[in-house]
Symmetry: C2
Subunit: 554 residues, 2 copies
Amino acid sequence: MQAYPKSPLMGQMMDQPLLISSIIEFAARHYGASEIVSRRVEGDMHRYNWRACLARAKRLANALNALGVCMGDRVATLAWNGYRHLEAYYAVSGSGAVLHTINPRLHPEQIAYIVNHAEDQYLLFDLTFLPLVEAIAPLCKGVRGWVLMADADRLPAETRIPNLLSYEALLAAQPEQFDWPLFDENSAATLCYTSGTTGNPKGALYSHRSTVLHAYGSAMPNALDVGSRDTVLPVVPMFHVNAWGLPYSVPLSGAKLVFPGCALDGKSVYDLFEAEGVTFSAGVPTVWLGLINYAKMNNLKFSTFRRTVIGGSACPPAMMDTLMDDFGVDVVHAWGMTEMSPLGTACGLLARHEKLPREEQRKILRKQGHAIYGVDMRIVDDDGQELPWDGTSFGHLQVRGPWIISSYFKEEGGSVLDRGWFPTGDVATIDEDGFMQITDRSKDVIKSGGEWIGTIDLENIAVAHPAVMQAACIGIRHPKWDERPLLIVVKKTSAEVSRDELLSFFEGKIAKWWMPDDVVFVEALPVGGTGKIQKNKLREQFKDYELPTVTRSN
Amino acid sequence: MQAYPKSPLMGQMMDQPLLISSIIEFAARHYGASEIVSRRVEGDMHRYNWRACLARAKRLANALNALGVCMGDRVATLAWNGYRHLEAYYAVSGSGAVLHTINPRLHPEQIAYIVNHAEDQYLLFDLTFLPLVEAIAPLCKGVRGWVLMADADRLPAETRIPNLLSYEALLAAQPEQFDWPLFDENSAATLCYTSGTTGNPKGALYSHRSTVLHAYGSAMPNALDVGSRDTVLPVVPMFHVNAWGLPYSVPLSGAKLVFPGCALDGKSVYDLFEAEGVTFSAGVPTVWLGLINYAKMNNLKFSTFRRTVIGGSACPPAMMDTLMDDFGVDVVHAWGMTEMSPLGTACGLLARHEKLPREEQRKILRKQGHAIYGVDMRIVDDDGQELPWDGTSFGHLQVRGPWIISSYFKEEGGSVLDRGWFPTGDVATIDEDGFMQITDRSKDVIKSGGEWIGTIDLENIAVAHPAVMQAACIGIRHPKWDERPLLIVVKKTSAEVSRDELLSFFEGKIAKWWMPDDVVFVEALPVGGTGKIQKNKLREQFKDYELPTVTRSN
């Protein structure tokens, strides 16, 4: 780290590094009886509290020491949201090693690449992933041991996995006494690879300092707003950017934590919400679909669920309306990325918006919202010139702050900052009141005659048509305009709509020159490991597509 | 600062120091239109917003530079809560100098002592304090200039004050362009002297890091819970531990800020609450008395006021009941001290308390509550042994954390920590759920036959009697028991109660051996600069008092 000049007069405050271990110590000591409830992959429920969680995390820390894990060593997980994964979060980082959470939805070869790139020493995994580990173990020669997060009697009789250990057996052999080491707060704490659509995955290497600051920032009223009276169910997985920091912000708030394990279908999630009195949840838009459908089909309401944060990709307006109007659940639209720990913005109305008509309020809530203190942002044009905050100028969104990466692990991708700012790859507007709205990805935006067309707006309008299930818009080469939009649509089962009917649905909703030049109906859209539509694949697939406007306009 | 060991693998996050300047930059940039409204000491109202506040703070920073103020230099204020004081908060600390806020209620000689001890280079003061500054200026030879926070036409024609300047004239001469310097976050930012009851005042020297971390911690839902939709009126003065950090936590939350100036009478405060739509306020118990009385006498309710934080000293139970039951204002009981920036704990119910009967809930809310993440606490006996958290064991309360001092300015008082913990001088219990309750000051607790008697409980019971206005309890030497409690009481105007009537009022409310041995009625109690009863003066006054129990028990 850079050494900043010191004042001739330094403050006289206690010198305590910001360490992840202090979070679980705080929760166990000050909110020791607050519960952690997990639906286990074994099928049953598990309950304990922050005090017991700390005791087991300390056993695991002792076990890691006994296995020879040293400060800075990477220890990986392939696991759902559950109490053992939580213990690993604290035991690994708290003892000075680096927790590397892996997305099990990636292709096995990609997982093996990541394990080898990270030089993981041990890998902890849930029972569900035994077949996956059988497949990748031979490809990961550097891993010294594989830890099945289950009792010893769950270990398979025969296996190709070398040095396969039982998590519970490891813990049982260790004492609960462990003193967390004190070390420099800029030491690495966790490692998370981005599921980049091009090239190999790249790692974001968070520090203890960045994690603690992100936990403070994300717990604040303007962000996740987590307090001791909440019961929080993170649907967003702990293998995906640390579940948006909830495994840290929940214990520092003393709240109750509920883990859904691998049962993410509508019924399982609904039942857990009701049984445990969940007040707050967080996840990407797709996970809410199942829950909403299940509740609607069975004519159910939520008794305690009051607020949810939706991020990862833009929340479809219809989903926001359903949650708010039909279920009375406040939706907080949030934005961030792996490189940002991940939270950057969250959207809430200002006091002066309270008297606006409902539809005007809803328009604001569909934006990605205000930066959380700790994050600064700006929009720039192709030449790097800053653009005004007027709600209409849109440009490349750049961010900076103490929980944003300065480079990728092992310097993959080289120098990533643009004069101190991290280029997010998103295109956005920011209005006079500081509300940011993503209009596109930089690589997806369509450049037509020197102007930009945002594809997210076009897709949102398309999916608002009753016959449309999914839609993606991409730019197609055009001799006169450089690029023009092509709309690619998956229709709902047994629904019908023609090309011209769909195009006329756009009339009056967009500027005329934003109108897609054509519509293609397909059976399915290519989807990546985190549930996002892979537009690069669509562009490849349609790279020779000839727009009907080409002959007409030439 | 101590160098903690570095991991072989350091995180790869942006290296940004936590600096106070980033708070106002954030507010101006992301919530630029949120208002700051001040009742000026000149008598009129002043309105602007965070964007304009930043511009003027930068003018002031340029002016300080022009005056030759260097990094680490102390710049003092004698000022009420108002927009100019806020500008000084950011201009002084942001430019690398140290803001020294002085309590104008101290004795002029004490103020002169503090100014000289701090080696203040400049002193900024409100028009109200012109006579005070005339009195102390000759005693403060080191001060290079005195800045009247007003227009140039308010400067007196004749004055003994050397180098008297107009704040507005200084700002008018400077540009709005100023780049905040980047420096080590452990650099000193603000200096605040404790109004110690014994010895000379001692300075707490906060750093940029401690101030920013305190701002994060104090804004969280479990603490002050400040969000962008709030309108915050700090009644607690900006000369008293930085108004509990509100000048920092409010802008990082984007809220509207309302300053009462010097008009703290019930009518003025009530009118401001209603005119500006105040939702949240904070102050010591005494300031609420005037407001409550005014509202009651005029049969008024609050339209927008929803929540208040009360700290500084324990909130009398009757005041909490009045605010909650009669006015529907949630009371958050908080505890802290100058040496803690100041917030340590805040009290809120847990989810499982929501179904308790009202009186049971109220008992919990009277406690000082849970530590805010960033603060750790423990209770120890006279030998330094940690005591259990059982709600009944009471011991010396000790704290530690990154916003707690490690020593006083210029090492006054020598080494203050006890094996890394700061001894608060309070005596407290902590229950199984982590709720802390102050039972006394260490020096006030009465040691009777080897057991401790908490005087705060006894005083709270006394003031609940309809004839009692104020009460203080002190320990009186006793040949058999070492000390026994004496209750000293100020009766309400035209109210009557006898010694025996008052003692019988305690029956059934306390353990028998806690019963005061005698009652003395007085006209008034000695009160210090911050409104607290000076028990050391009472102990001096009654040091030869003979308890009626002495002869009886011997």
